[in-house]
Amino acid sequence: MLVAGYFGFGALAAAHDIPLAIAVASTAVLWALPAQIVLVEMHTLAAPLAATVLAVMLSSARFLPMTLMLMPEMREARHRPWKYYVAAHLLSLSGWTMAVARFPQVPRAERLAWFFGFALVLITVNAAATAAGYLGADRLPPLARLALVFMVPMYYLLILTGTVRDRTAALGLACGALAGPLAYLATPDWSVPLGGLAGGTLAYLILKRT
């Protein structure tokens, strides 16, 4: 299901005149769809470098708790430490969800290999989806291209309304959806990091109160 998001991202990158190589490379080296969308959107808005990097960094912050939770599950004396640093780069939300669900059935010694296999397939398929979305948007008539780009907000709209089960994510997404456009009215350049900090903090406060 991640494929729909990356396909749309490829189309978005094409529509914003980002080179194909950059779009596909971003899937390989960022491997975080929100960060990639933030990067393309802010580049188009010609936002200052510091604002862009701050926004990308904040949007990827969830990798810290995800890695913290997953690494102890894969630890095994036999493996070399650097392998965990490579594994951390291959981690994505869907890979993490799969790993958490399957690890109880996978023997501890085999978990790292299992994770590498699974994550590499995921990253390759989605790099291909990025390229396909990009080339599709590039070759098709303008109206069809518009429809492909529209897949990006639709992907997150459905995730927002349908797949989120945990309260932290639901509140964070809802508050962010409100704060983002408001911050954009106030300051387009810094709207993404500021809206995220404001919306996220509001969500956190609501979470603590209830």
Binding site: L30, H89, L202
Partner: protein, 108 residues
Amino acid sequence: MIELWILLAICSLATYLWRGSGVLLSAGIDPRGEAFTWIACVAYAIIAGVVSRMLLMPTGVLAETTPLERAIGSAAALAAYFWLTKRNLFVGVVAGALALWLVKIALL
């Protein structure tokens, strides 16, 4: 062009910072702590903020659509996702895109 590669490299380092420190610190930190809840809230809020701005005040190609057209597309995506399929994300996303395309063609 070259600035874009540099920007991508910096952003990729910014993302890896979290991943790498997660491995480094994974021995002694409780990932369910308060600070992490706040961090998760901010991360979710950022992507939701970008996407809602794309729908409400689009820039780039999506600015060529009217709010009504985007609302029709969104309604089609939600309907396909919740009613036509058992929450199939892919079908929902494609239905939204298809609806927007059909509305655009019909208005030509």
